[in-house]
């Protein structure tokens, strides 16, 4: 099976697919189902539960974790292979406690540590929507973990003890309604921390490093705290909204798993919800990482890197690192460029990347692969230059890091 990234998924199927209004009770008004559909989009459920181009929610593609692969199960109302035999109470419990029908503990790839914050009302609406889907017979072997992680009960029970605090989101009365809505979405249904929060040794979120950036599947989900150098401290609220709405803003263009998250989820969210997310993120504490001094321009790595940059990169990203909005990401004073973990940078230079496309920003420009053209030292030096030119400052990149990722990406 093809390995998909955490948020991988064609969303179109989710919004166009299957509101057949079959067998719905009187209490399931259209308004509730429609709200549930929206919330399923906001939660990006299809990312894990739908194969690209496949039947909506009939089971997803494999999610690779350090412990092995997990596959999002079939959550259509099919009795034999989906959740047709579940009751609403079963579903609500899965969302809030991570415990499925018959008391099975779910793997935390299902982000119940975040979903536990979702209100009962919202979870009920999602349930109402899921019940309207076309039942699809598709048996999914969800657990493809390696031993000993494939022995579900004891492992996840222990995991929950360490990493899971159940409980619905508690609004902060000192904050605005918008802020609270943002916090609810970011911490709850949006489960942003699933990608952006560093993990402890068991794979659980590190509570002391919320949204400070984390690695998964050879992508680095960057710091989205308000840190000025590596985070989104310099982005205005409107720029964050634009990024989530269109995939692109004056600084950057979504790529990789975030492009999929934008395409499948955030670009379909309301402006009010995006404003709420941005408001909350802008009010979060900065990471306050260690201060980093830029490498001197005459450092031999910088000199070589600048030569490569002029010859290979400037035609798009501009000699000043300014880029071009919605087309070529800005490199100067760019948070992702200065990330502690350069995995995404090395990756896109080696094998390229296509940016996300949305109705508002359909261009979908792509970064060409340079792995055939630049050796490990050249990739390291050009990135070291980019990370330390134009006011940027970040640790230099070692050729060995490039070699390691090159090897991993070829596997």
């Amino acid at each position: 099976m093809r390995i998909r990234t955490l948020t991988a998924l064609a969303f179109a199927a989710c919004i166009t697919g299957g509101v057949s209004l079959r067998a719905v009770g009187d209490d399931q008004s259209f308004a509730k189902i429609e709200r549930g559909r929206y919330l399923a989009v906001a939660g990006d459920c299809s990312a894990c539960h739908t194969v690209p181009g496949g039947k909506p929610f009939a089971g997803g593609a494999a999610l690779e974790t350090p412990f092995g692969a997990l596959v999002g199960p079939n959550i259509t109302p099919d009795v034999a292979t989906g959740i047709g035999a579940w009751s609403e109470a079963d579903f609500l419990r899965a969302m809030s406690e991570g415990i499925g029908k018959n008391g099975t503990r779910l793997y935390p790839a299902m982000p119940y540590p975040a979903y536990t914050k979702v209100t009962r009302d919202d979870a009920s609406a999602i349930w109402a929507y899921l019940r309207t889907l076309e039942p699809v017979g598709n048996a999914v072997q969800s657990n493809q973990l390696l031993f000993p992680f494939n022995a579900r009960r004891p492992a996840t029970a222990t995991w929950d003890l360490i990493n899971f605090k159940p409980g619905v989101f508690e609004p902060d009365p000192a904050k605005s309604e918008t802020w609270n809505r943002g916090a609810y979405l970011v911490e709850g249904l949006g489960h942003c921390g699933t990608c952006h929060t560093p993990k402890n040794i068991t794979g659980g979120d590190r509570g002391d490093m919320v949204l400070q950036g984390a690695l998964l599947q050879n992508w680095y989900a960057p710091d989205v705290t308000t840190d000025l150098r590596t985070g989104i401290g310099s982005w205005a609220v409107e720029e964050i909204v634009r990024y989530l709405k269109t995939g692109a803003n004056s600084f950057d263009i979504a790529s990789g798993p975030m492009a999929e998250a934008v395409e499948n989820s955030t670009s379909h969210m309301t402006d009010a919800d995006l404003l709420a997310i941005a408001t909350y993120l802008k009010d979060s504490p900065p990471r306050n990482g260690p201060a980093v001094a830029a490498l001197a321009g005459n450092d031999r790595r910088m000199v070589a890197g600048q030569a490569i940059y002029e010859d290979r990169c400037a035609a798009c990203h501009v000699s000043s690192g300014a880029g071009a909005p919605t087309l070529f990401p800005r490199l100067a004073k760019a948070p992702l460029i200065q990330s502690d973990d350069p995995t995404s940078l090395i990756r896109v230079v080696l094998i390229g990347s296509r940016a996300g496309a949305t109705a508002a920003a359909p261009t979908a420009p792509a970064m060409p692969a340079f792995g055939w053209n630049l050796n490990d030292a050249e990739v390291a030096d050009v990135l070291t230059y980019i990370r330390n030119a134009w006011g940027n400052a970040a640790a230099p990149i070692q050729p060995a890091s490039v070699a390691t990722l090159r090897d991993r990406l070829q596997r």
Binding site: V318, S319, S353, A364, A366, W372
Partner: protein, 231 residues
């Protein structure tokens, strides 16, 4: 370099929903490796080296065709899709047309070179007391080439004038093409004329009129400046 003949080597593709893209997509040029002849036999290689070095002779500033790699370039081109006339219309009947109708030869470039070099060798050995072209002094080499160019040196079994034209074309290609193809070693031809190579951004220079562009040439494989210098 691969010249993809799209109907045979690429499968039909249905494109729908989003723009196709895959990691590592693209068909970058493959560098010609130095080493023995791939197409030529040694005698042919020696003749070609001698020919390209008279078409583009060395001078104190710039190497000639041989040292620039033009013979290697031609060898590798003839061994590849160019040599086999891949993608050209090679169906008969073959007839001699007017000059305006273009080349109507049924022979591939590789075959033409083979025939012409054999004929040239015969011509030189017959005319210059058993010496091959490569063994001739420069002034005699130049006379032979001029004879081919003007049609006064008649080869037995090949069209000397056509061979000259093709050889000159291919030699210039090798001299000025990216070094990745085997000629233009160290970008010597580009340095000779002031062409900065495989660059893609002159925004800072378009309206700096009548000034010499300052950056050195770069090839697909880079340039010396890409390597860390000093301690």
């Amino acid at each position: 370099m691969t010249l993809v003949f799209s109907t045979t080597s690429a499968g039909a593709l249905v494109v729908k929903g989003s723009l196709p893209w895959t990691p590592n997509a693209g068909d970058p040029p493959t560098a010609v490796l130095p080493g023995p002849w791939v197409y030529f036999i040694p005698e042919e290689g020696a003749a070609i080296e001698a020919l390209v070095d008279r078409l583009i002779p060395p001078d104190p500033q710039t190497p000639g065709g041989k040292d620039a790699g033009c013979a290697v370039f031609i060898d590798r081109q003839l061994a590849g899709s160019y040599g086999s006339a891949e993608g050209l219309y090679m169906r008969g009947p073959f007839a001699n047309g007017t000059p305006q109708q273009g080349d109507q030869s049924p022979l591939t470039p590789a075959v033409r070179y083979r025939q012409a070099l054999a004929a040239l060798d015969k011509y030189c050995r017959a005319t210059f007391a058993g010496k091959s072209f490569a063994q001739l002094p420069d002034d005699q080499k130049d006379k032979v080439i001029s004879g081919l160019e003007e049609g006064s040196a008649t080869l037995d079994g090949a069209d000397g004038k056509m061979f000259f034209a093709q050889l000159l074309t291919n030699t210039r290609e090798g001299f000025f093409a990216d070094p990745v193809y085997g000629g233009n070693r160290d970008m010597v031809a580009w340095k000779m004329i002031g062409f900065p190579g495989a660059r893609y951004d002159y925004r800072d220079w378009v309206d700096r009129h009548n000034e010499r562009y300052p950056l050195p040439p770069v090839g697909f494989a880079g340039r010396p400046g890409w390597v860390r210098q000093g301690p």
